[in-house]
Amino acid sequence: MPTSPSAIHLVLLAILLFFAGAVLPMACGRRQRLAHVMGMAGALAGALAGLPAALLFLLTGQTEHVQPVWPGTGLQFALSVDALAAFFLLPVFLLVFCCALYAHRYLDLPSRGGRAARHWFFFNVLAASMALVVGAANSFVFLVAWEVMSLSSFFLVVHDLGDEQARRAGWLYLVATHLGTAFLFGLFLAEYRLAGSLDFSSFEVLRGLPPSGALVFFALALIGFGTKAGMFPLHCWLPEAHAAAPSHVSALMSGVMIKTALYGLLRICTFLPPLPAWCGLLLAGLGISGSLYGIALAALQPDLKKSLAYSTVENIGIILLGIGLWLYCGATGHPGAAALCLAGALLHVWNHALFKSLLFLGAGSILHATGTRTISKLGGLLRRMPVTGILLLAGGAAIAALPPLNGFVSELLIYLGLIKAGLAAAGGQAFVFMLFAALLALTGGMVLLAVTRLLGITLGGEPLSEMSARAHESSPSMLAAMAIPALVCLGIGIAPQVPLALLAKPMAILAPGSPNPAAVIPLPFNADWSLVALLLTAITVFGLFLRRRSRPQPGQTTWGCGFSRPSARMAYTAGGYSQFAQDEIYGRGPQPKVEQPDRLGFFPALRRFHREFRDPVLARWFSPLFIRCAGLAHTCHRLQAGQMNIYLTYIFLATVLLLGWSFLW
């Protein structure tokens, strides 16, 4: 095996460059523009240093270990990168590059205060900590990096401190992520007790655990990492935070930060003994319910970015479905189907990182151009922002899993795994697989509803508001930042055999001895596929080009519905588009809270119609729970009387109790 000692040092260099990009802008003082450029340069340079290293690790499958000296602390600052880590490092570096490039023009320079420096500090720290989380070789480094990642992303979410909504979202995120981290602390401390060392390499002893012990670890990891990943029903923080953050930060968080949680989950799975089959089934069930729930709510949101954020919940659900099916099929003796599902899940990690960041960046461009995120105030943007619009359409097609793009490939793999296992299994088990396949298909259909609503109303038709009518095209650097993930999306769709070949090494770490997905079932991804996909793409591009060349026809009203002068106010709104689904298909759960005006009286009076979307899980389960906890905590507040005598009494009683306790036992 060829080992080049420089590869992991390149990753280290990337992390150091990120840190430099974090610290240097802080030293710029009042010179905001210089701080801005330095922060961006640090992020770009770090990403460029890391990308080839990650690719090299993924190609060769080598494992490298490094321990930079950290004398005097007794702690080992160990980093180790293998193919699995590199698999997650690659999107981290790629998206950090795109998002930093995007931020150059997206982040308008405020004239006062250290906002640019503050932003770049946290942005670069977030980038470095994500690389560290994935590269950590012991649980101490992992937890520290994890915490730094949570905190820096929190500060990025509340970038706009004057925004009340952003502060609330940031608060929710901070609480949720710390509750999740508490479980991770439990997980790693329990592992430390068993293994006697913090190093991941010593966690091999966990393979000898009895099944019940392994279940405890699995449950801790599922809750801890699931909270961060946005797993249903622990996803409540995600839509709020993603919507409130600056768009490139949303792209980074949705694209890669929450994927580091999946990395953690997969890494823990490699330490544990084979889990019972129902664990995989549980994970798959949570995944599919999360994806149905997420996409159902994505189709209702009046807010562009919130809709995208709910779609993230849906995609995480699909990935978890794949991972769960991998575990389930592996435990029930369908190795081929297990390999297909794992490959699909892993590829979907990449795909989602690409198209979701593309869509978030596109949403950011729309926000930048029009100043609003409300879908019903947009419209007619394809004519005003043609390049952004086409890139957004490509992202929408990818997320809806349309063929020449990447979303199709990963979902096809999961479908193939489901069908293969369903055909091989018997009785009730086959029914389970087919049920999953049907529910996944249902999800796919609803994605189409959400995407057509999202893009159709914002891009097509006439502008629904003055803000939308005045929109302008984004600057070239923003377009370039969006074009990179769009091209990679297209590339994966045209030549799926390349990413599938890259998957072999990480899969060998996760499931040693599992068959190659291409060997399980003849996959259609060969040269012919590429040719057809390429042709399809070329025809589409050519068609668009022709359409652009042709002179626009003067607008005509097709069918006025009896109105003599139809206006944009009569066009379909976002709410109207999804109303059928909302009223007729969904149950009572995801319905928005609607304040109807009173019945008409004899005299005209002020009326208001107001609908409010709150996450049903948050509103029905978590909010009441936390309000009750707060009540309990408030009762305990009486203990803090503020009088020293009372505190001394507590000390005295505690001493007496401890004395008595140590004496009696």
Binding site: G642, Q643, M644, N645, L648, T649, F652, F663
Partner: protein, 212 residues
């Protein structure tokens, strides 16, 4: 020797009761000084006359019997108070509680797994009951000055424990503890003055305004 130490310790316990039962601050300070002075004799009787015990005794006598009482008298002269009026728990009740804790201390000390030579001595019960008396003072009194006295009594209890361990405990540690005490009293005197100036009283309850 055991007779002398036992009677010293008994006197210390009785003085605890006196302090718990009186409201006059001047008397309280004098009695605490007396208690400290009695205790400072303990090492001499327990370990005989040698450099270690002499130094310890002299230091303790100087601090507890002279310097600290002097500081405290100065403090009450400055803030012009003579009595602790209305304690949180009445004098009779605190006396009863003191008696109760002393009884518990004796019972508890009986059951502790001690070294054989300490088995029958009064050291442990005296130390525990003095600690409890100090705690009671701290808990039940309102004035800062009486709380300082409670703290002193508390320290006396620790001193009795410490004497048992003199052989194990180096001189430096003992001196350190005594010095700590002196500094603490010093600081408390200053704080007391400030409380007085701020609230025109040295009732510590006013400090609860500083909560949160």
């Amino acid at each position: 020797m055991t007779n002398v130490t036992s009677s010293l310790l008994l006197a210390v316990i009785l003085l605890n009761f006196f302090i718990l039962g009186t409201s006059r601050l001047g008397a309280c300070i004098r009695v605490v000084a007396l208690q400290g002075a009695l205790l400072s004799l303990l090492p001499l009787f327990l370990y005989g006359v040698n450099i270690h015990s002499l130094l310890l005794s002299a230091g303790a006598l100087l601090l507890k019997g002279w310097i600290i009482p002097w500081l405290l008298f100065r403090a009450i002269r400055q803030v012009k108070i003579r009595r602790e009026i209305e304690p949180r728990i009445g004098y009779i009740t605190s006396l009863m509680l003191g008696a109760l804790t002393t009884a518990i201390a004796f019972i508890f000390a009986d059951r502790l797994p001690l070294q054989p030579e300490h088995m029958q001595s009064l050291f442990i019960p005296a130390a525990l009951s003095t600690l409890a008396a100090g705690f009671l003072m701290l808990i039940t009194r309102r004035k800062a000055i009486t709380q300082v006295l409670g703290y002193l009594i508390f320290e006396n209890g620790i001193f009795i424990f410490g004497v048992l361990l003199t052989e194990a405990m180096p001189l430096m540690v003992e001196t350190g503890v005594l010095l700590d005490l002196l500094v603490a009293i010093f600081v408390m005197g200053i704080v007391m003055n400030h409380i007085n100036r701020e609230y025109s009283s040295i009732n510590t309850e006013h400090l609860c305004l500083l909560k949160e």
